[in-house]
């Protein structure tokens, strides 16, 4: 309380109040507008596709498919955004998905391992590769483009090697469930109730902390509206999915990872340092941040998440093939960039990346529903990627 009393009695009390936060300004910041515009873009795309498919696009069944299709790219994009924020890149992610999925499935087939062991192996392979590539980038000072380009080739070769070119069908039902099962409807309702409660608690906790530090000028209405919108979205999301078969397991995993990722990036010292390192590595170094260690961590997390995605990818297909995951890195990078990440580093959010993944998956799904030929789909996606980033660059230049 004494801090607040002190600031209230300085010569310029207005500074204390306005320094804390202009009420509306925060909600209209550049990055906020970016996120909103992506949400709007997704809404528009959904509306268009719903229209031209006679409503099938937004049917519970297709919505469920769409969410499931987003999962793998979404999980990868959570890791990729961390790497991109540090101004590095990881091109080996697709090959790593193939390799880790293959390792997990082969352990089941060849060594009769159970769910836990095989998943741990998949994660372990991803983490080990991530650590290696991170070390080569951060400590051996080899450009990440080259390290991960080499990885793209090498890990694909490794997958070919250990599988002998064969595709391994999955026989373990618990593992298969990772990609193909649904969360019980009742559990789904329970989860969303917990989620809404958590949103409410978080909002209240924040208000309380603000009041404790004398920042009541912050908009109470803004916080309430945000909490309400988030709760409504969560509820709508789960209810639609429940109308078909429940929340798909991969989607639940994606949500959990996305929440953890968002928390890590925006609420921890680790995340803060990651943004600093990407924004200005020199200034970060002079501020005592261990720049190399931060980069290494980013790659480790990326590798770990590639392991997760690898397991889910294989589970969804029902088998692990040596070509699994080809070109997935491009989808992940596109998702991050559409979501607002800058390849120069220092910019990008997990939420944006996931929305970017959802956007791309929506285009995919909608165009497939309309039987648009594959080559046209590729051209459209490429064009939209350039358009999205071009518009963003234009908007930033005007700032």
């Amino acid at each position: 309380m004494s801090d607040r009393a002190e600031t209230a009695h300085t010569e310029q009390p207005q500074i204390a109040a306005s320094a804390a936060a202009p009420k509306l300004g925060r909600w209209l910041s550049a990055s906020a507008i970016r996120s909103y515009s992506l949400v709007i873009a997704i809404a528009v795309v959904w509306a268009i596709f719903a229209g031209v498919t006679g409503g099938i696009f937004l049917s519970p069944r297709n919505f469920s498919n769409l969410m499931r299709q987003t999962a793998v790219t979404g999980i990868l994009s959570v890791g990729m955004v961390m790497v991109i924020v540090t101004a590095e890149i990881d091109l080996s992610v697709g090959s790593l998905v193939g390799l880790s999925g293959m390792a997990a499935v082969m352990l089941q087939t060849v060594a009769h391992a159970g769910l836990v062991a095989s998943v741990l192996l998949g994660l372990g392979v991803g983490l080990a590769v991530g650590a290696l590539q991170g070390w080569l980038t951060a400590y051996a000072r080899i450009p990440s483009f080259i390290v991960t380009l080499g990885g793209l080739l090498a890990w694909r070769g490794a997958a070919q090697g250990i599988s002998g070119g064969n595709t391994y069908p999955i026989e373990l039902p618990s593992f298969m469930a990772l990609g193909q099962s649904y969360v019980n409807r009742v559990t789904g309702i329970a989860l969303v109730t917990v989620a809404v409660a958590a949103i409410a608690w978080f909002a209240i906790h924040r208000r309380r902390a603000e009041r404790r530090h004398g920042l009541e000028s912050r908009s109470a209405i803004g916080t309430a509206v945000a909490a309400l919108v988030a709760s409504a979205a969560a509820a709508g999301f789960v209810l639609t999915l429940n109308a078909y078969a429940g929340i798909p397991v991969p989607v639940l995993i994606l949500v959990a990872i996305a929440l953890a990722g968002t928390f890590l990036m925006s609420q921890t010292t680790f995340g803060r340092r990651l943004y600093a390192v990407g924004g200005n590595p020199e200034a970060s170094k002079f501020s005592g941040i261990n720049v190399r260690r931060q980069v290494l961590w980013a790659f480790c997390i990326m590798g770990l998440l590639a392991g997760v995605a690898g397991c889910i990818y294989a589970a969804r297909l029902g088998s692990a093939g040596p070509q699994a995951g080809t070109l997935l890195e491009l989808d992940a990078i596109a998702a991050c960039v559409i979501g607002g990440a800058s390849l120069m580093g220092g910019r990008g959010t997990v939420l944006g990346a996931c929305l970017g993944a959802l956007f791309m998956a929506s285009l995919d799904n909608g165009m497939s529903l309309k039987d648009v030929p594959d080559f046209v789909q590729s051209i459209v996606k490429g064009g939209i990627l350039v358009l999205a980033v071009g518009l963003d660059a234009l908007a930033r230049r005007r700032d």
Binding site: A21, R212, H213, T268, R272, G346
Partner: protein, 509 residues
């Protein structure tokens, strides 16, 4: 040579302003053909800016330039080159991966129907180098040459333009004695051919030997011009540094505590492997509440010293003691853990994350103490930042304003706040008021004084003599990496400090 001729070059009432700083204020300068006219002055006096205007680097400026009586309007460097101006700057601009011959003819290679005639390139380069008595094979890759020889190639490149006006900015800084002598011979030969030469250097002995006339610049103004026969070192130095005290520095009545930071026999080797010593056997100590100044010319090793002491560059030997305890500092976090802070020379490059907000920049060092060991608390950060925001009177729209949008002075305050929030006990300041307007400068001087009063030990590197003399209790002068002098109290005069910085003898008491 006092033959009356038409001036080859006339620069009249040249003015140049950068945001917040008036670099040149009505400078007049002229040059006759067949003359070596030297420009001298402190760092920041405006010499390089004036020459950049002549070279066409700054097309926008006040005043007029006339060459052989014809008014000139340089829109770019090419225009200046075509008018017969050739400049060799201090910063090397050779392309390291290309050969010497390619560098000399860069952009104007003799060609036939668009195809370069390499034989002619190398033949012409070889004959040019021979004529200038430079023993370098034009087919050698430029990057493999030492800095001194690279500089010689730059001079050859400038001369290959058949310039009427040749400008050299600190040409002997990286040359050996023999190379310098060679250069002087070449310059005299060119002068005798009628070329007008502008020579910028801090080495007054050289300037006296070479020049026909010497002009002194100070604070962006022409102070005086003297001709051969009237050269006097003491008088020249006095003109370079003498000025009315228009800036008020806070009155210093400081009580000094015990020694809190000490450096013994510190040596820093050049990390680029050229084998030189950037800092050579430097020792000093700073007390609690004391402001120690480190003066010297650019390249004397001041920034290199601080950066190495902070643990940000490798190759340092010697001892560092904090509170009389030996401190092992191998990286910046070691220094920070010992309570040392470093406000670097270039805040945009190494002080701030420009696209982040004020609060995120301020909390960057003390993040774990202020916000939380793992989970950050925005409310705590805002509270801590508001305190410094108010105390330092930071003029920003809010704590969330992006630092990039702030003025230089405000940005510097954010950097200072960052270190103060971390409770720095020893603060290194490297050119803290560079690129900052007069009003903000005064505020920062007050802040520095407040810091000293509250017991912080301050080490201040500055190229502005008034600043160093006005703020510091003691001044150490570095020259070519070594301590060249130490002053305090009445002995600390601008002339004495400048004399030590350039290696001249001290003025008579």
């Amino acid at each position: 040579m006092t033959v009356q001729k038409e001036p080859l070059l006339q620069m009249s009432h040249i003015t140049k302003t950068f945001p917040g700083v008036r670099a040149l204020d009505g400078v007049t300068f002229d040059l006759f053909p067949g003359e070596i006219h030297s420009l001298v002055g402190e760092n920041g006096a405006g010499k390089s800016t004036l020459m950049k205007i002549l070279a066409g680097v700054y097309p926008e400026h006040g005043g007029k330039i006339r060459i052989e009586g014809q008014p000139q309007q340089f829109r770019n460097v090419r225009d200046a080159e075509n008018a017969g101006v050739a400049v060799v700057f201090q910063e090397l601009s050779l392309v390291r991966e290309l050969t010497v011959g390619e560098n000399i003819f860069l952009g104007r290679e003799p060609s036939r129907f668009g195809v370069v005639e390499w034989n002619r390139v190398y033949a012409q380069a070889a004959s040019l180098l021979r004529e200038l008595n430079i023993d370098i094979d034009p087919r050698v890759t430029a990057g493999t040459l030492g800095t001194g020889r690279q500089q010689t190639v730059e001079i050859a490149k400038a001369l290959s333009h058949n310039a009427r006006i040749l400008v050299l900015d600190e040409p002997t800084a990286a040359l050996t004695g023999a190379e310098s002598e060679n250069l002087f011979a070449v310059l005299r030969m060119l002068r005798d051919r009628g070329v007008g030469i502008i020579y910028i250097s801090h080495r007054l002995e050289e300037v006296f030997v070479l020049s026909d006339r010497i002009t002194v610049l100070r604070d962006g103004k022409t102070i005086c011009t003297v001709a051969r026969g009237s050269f006097n070192q003491q008088a020249l130095i006095a003109q370079m540094v003498g000025r009315e005290v228009t800036q008020l520095f806070p009155h210093r009545a400081r009580s000094l505590g015990e020694v809190v930071f000490e450096v013994r026999h510190v040596t820093v080797t050049d990390p680029t492997g050229r084998g030189g010593l950037l800092v050579d056997d430097v020792s000093f100590a700073v007390r609690k509440g004391e402001v120690l100044g480190i003066a010297g010319l650019i390249g004397a090793g001041r920034t290199e010293l601080l950066t190495a002491l902070f643990g940000a560059t490798p190759g340092r030997t010697g001892e560092i003691l904090v509170d009389s305890q030996p401190a092992k500092i191998t990286r910046p976090s070691d220094a920070i853990a010992r309570g040392i802070g470093f406000v670097t020379e270039d805040r945009k490059r190494s002080g701030l994350v420009l696209d982040e907000s004020v609060v995120k920049n301020m909390t960057l060092v003390a993040l774990e103490h202020v916000s939380g060991v793992f989970i950050t608390s925005e409310a705590r950060e805002i509270a801590a930042s508001t305190k410094w925001f108010d105390r330092l009177r930071i003029k920003a729209p809010s704590l969330f304003a992006k630092v990039r949008t702030l003025s230089g002075g405000t940005q510097q305050k954010v950097v200072l706040a960052k270190w103060l929030m971390n409770e720095a006990r020893v603060l290194f300041l490297d050119e803290p008021t560079r690129g900052i307007d007069v009003g903000a400068k005064a505020e920062i001087y007050q802040l520095i004084d407040n810091l000293a009063q509250s017991g912080v030990a301050v080490v201040l590197v500055s190229s502005e003599l008034p600043e160093i003399l006005g703020l510091c209790d003691r001044i150490v002068v570095l020259r070519q990496g070594r301590i060249a002098g130490e002053f305090s109290g009445a002995g600390a005069t601008p002339e004495a400090v400048m004399a030590r910085a350039i290696g001249a003898s001290l003025p008579a008491a």
